[in-house]
Each structure stands twice: as C-alpha cells, then as structure tokens.
C-alpha cells in the first residue's frame, strides 16, 4: 500500500475524521477520542509501525487538551519509506475532566509517555497498568505544565519560604 492508497483507505474506513495532507509529507488527522485505539491499530497494520512520541498541548482558552500521537514508519522497502511522511494524530479532550483510554495494547512504548503526560498535565489514561508519577518528587495541586500553574507563586511559596541556615553561635 502506498501513501495515496492509505489516505483513501483512511477516509473510507473512518468517515468522521478530518484529514489534512501537508506539502512536506506530513499527514494530520483530527479525530474523536473514542477512535484513538482503532486508528492507531489500523495505521500500525498499514506501514506506520512506530510510535515516536505522545505530546500534549494545553489550549486554555478553548478549555481543551490536545493529545498528539506522532507516528513514523520503519520499513525495509526504501522507496516506500521515502514516500511516507510522519502522521500526526490529534485528539482534543475537555480540560475539565481529562480522560482517554490508554494505547499500550497497540504500542507498548506508550507507557512512559502516558505516565509523563499524567504527571505534568493531569490527563488520566484509563486502563494504564501503573499510572504513578515518573519524574516529580513533590505533590502539586495543579499539574505543573498546565497553563494555569503559577510558577512564580509556587517558587515563592515553596522554595523562598525555606529559611537560610543561621550562622554558628560563637
């Protein structure tokens, strides 16, 4: 299957997705959150066999998070490989109670990405086997990568409130 066929097939299989093809070869797919697993497993079977990254954007004015699944392909066929650009699968979820199903069953390497997004944005991934913080040591009331997290206030409250060590008494 080449790229043109793939785009046609995608449009046929998933009727309610929005699919844009860019000049630099990148295909951007906007879809609903219920479809994420189906689209990813479909793409995995059709050339795009590597999940490069899961990223998250906080659109605070629109009250939405946007999850971006970046897919690339590792193919033996060089001509086909040249032809394929990356695929960005973009999914918007509401900011109030962000939850989406995990894609570990499709791409196993999604696990640390999902944990990272969970601790930095507070997006819950239902079905994730161990959704615990990955890097952070402290508990944060607001997840630190959200736009409404006030870093300066946090620094003032936490780090500047720690007292300086007193000099020794003579």
């Amino acid at each position: 299957m080449n790229k043109k066929n793939l785009i046609q097939q995608l449009r046929l299989t998933f009727s309610d997705i929005q699919l844009n093809e860019h000049e630099d070869g990148i295909i951007k797919i906007h879809a609903k959150k219920e479809q994420v697993k189906r689209i990813l497993s479909y793409l995995k079977d059709n050339m795009y066999n590597h999940l490069a990254l899961i990223s998250c954007v906080d659109w605070i004015k629109e009250k939405e998070f946007e999850l971006i699944y970046i897919l690339t392909s590792y193919l033996d066929d060089k001509e086909l490989y040249q032809e394929t650009g990356d695929i960005y699968l973009k999914i918007r979820i509401p900011r109030g109670d962000p939850e989406i199903e995990t894609v570990i069953s499709v791409f196993e390497n999604a696990e640390p990405y999902e944990r990272e997004i969970y601790e930095l944005f507070g997006v819950k991934f239902s079905g994730h086997p161990r959704l615990i913080p990955l890097f952070l040591e402290r508990d944060y009331e607001v997840s630190p990568f959200r736009k409404d997290f006030d870093t300066r206030k946090y620094v003032k409250d936490v780090f500047e409130s720690i007292p300086v060590i007193p000099e020794e008494e003579e």
Binding site: F135, L136, E137, R138, Y140, P144, F149, T151, R152, Y154, V155, V158, F159, E160, S161, I162, P163, V164, I165, P166, E168
Partner: protein
C-alpha cells in the same frame, strides 16, 4: 618546593596532605558536567593540582556541584555528601546552585543550594571556563591553609537546621539523621 615550605609542610602535614590530594567525586549534575572531562584529561590536566575524579563518595573529599539541582538530584546530593569522609569540601559550580540561575522560576529545581548542604565556595558563570575550576582549587588551598574551609564542621553543628530544610523540600527522608539531633534545644 623550597626549604621554607618543607618546614611548613612538616609542621602541619595534615593540611598539606589535604591540599594536594583533592579527590573529586565524579557526580554529574546538570549541564556543568560537560566542563569536567576536558579538565581531568590532557588538555587542562587537573592532576597537576592533585584533583582526580574518583568513583565513590568514600574515596572523595571534593564535591563539585556542576549545575542546576532538581529535587530528585538534591536527594542524591545529600546522600552522597553524607557518605563522604571528613574533611570534605564542596564547591558550587555555575550560577544555578547559587541562586537558581536561568531556572529561577522553575517548579522543580531548588534555588539556593546552601540552604540544604554547606558550601565552601562558589564558581560563578554560565558556564565557567575550566580555568575557573583551577582558580577555585587554589582558593581552596588558601582556605585550607587558613582553616576557613570548614563547611563540614558547620554541617555537624547546624545539622538540625539542614535536616529541617531538607525535609521541607523533599518531604520525609528515608534515611536516618547523620548526626544526633537534640529536640530540646
């Protein structure tokens, strides 16, 4: 070494030994560690000054903190520092351990390192040149000669304050206090 220095060295041979055998723990924190490989290898050759990197904190007596300190690294730094044998000297390297540097409003890096462990001296700059390390080492020699490089003594005396600050930053620490803490005082 001229004759005057021989007498001086014999008079206070402990200090003489400490001065010329500053063994630095190879502990990479932040971006400053990139300056350490040229310093210890043939280009700048830190062994001229008696500074060599060692693998474990038990062998080391110089601790270079080479860059920003996240909370996770702070935990490792405290544990490493407490395992080092006295006399031990710490040098903050770069502007981040001094006052936060470019991470002054970060949610996850501590701003002033001397609130958590004692520091003998600072090397300012972002990044400092390798020559700055040697200037710091020669300053440290002078301080050892005068007996003013005594941050580890301060750690022992003011330990309860340090421990309190460490617990404020990291929550409950999973290792016991290094020195006994008198609660009554």
């Amino acid at each position: 070494m001229d004759r005057e220095q021989v007498i001086k060295a014999l008079k206070d041979s402990g200090k003489w030994g400490h001065k010329y055998s500053l063994w630095a723990i190879y502990f990479g924190t932040g971006c400053g560690i990139i300056e350490i490989p040229p310093v210890i290898t043939s280009r700048w050759d830190a062994e001229r000054f008696g500074v060599i990197p060692v693998a474990t904190p038990r062998q080391a007596n110089l601790f270079l903190i080479t860059g920003y300190v996240t909370l996770k690294t702070l935990r490792a730094i405290i544990r490493t520092y407490e395992q080092m044998r006295e006399p031990k000297y710490t040098v903050g390297f770069g502007s981040c351990p001094i006052n936060g540097g470019m991470y002054w409003d970060s949610y996850n890096t501590i701003k002033k390192l001397d609130k958590y462990i004692p520091i003998d001296g600072w090397i300012a700059g972002c990044m400092p040149r390798p020559e700055a390390i040697f200037i710091a080492v020669t300053h440290l020699w002078t301080m050892i000669d005068r007996g003013t490089a005594d941050a580890y003594k301060k750690y022992r005396k003011q330990y309860k304050y340090y421990r309190k600050n460490q617990e404020m930053a990291l929550g409950k620490l999973e290792w016991p206090p290094l020195y006994p803490i008198n609660e009554d005082e």
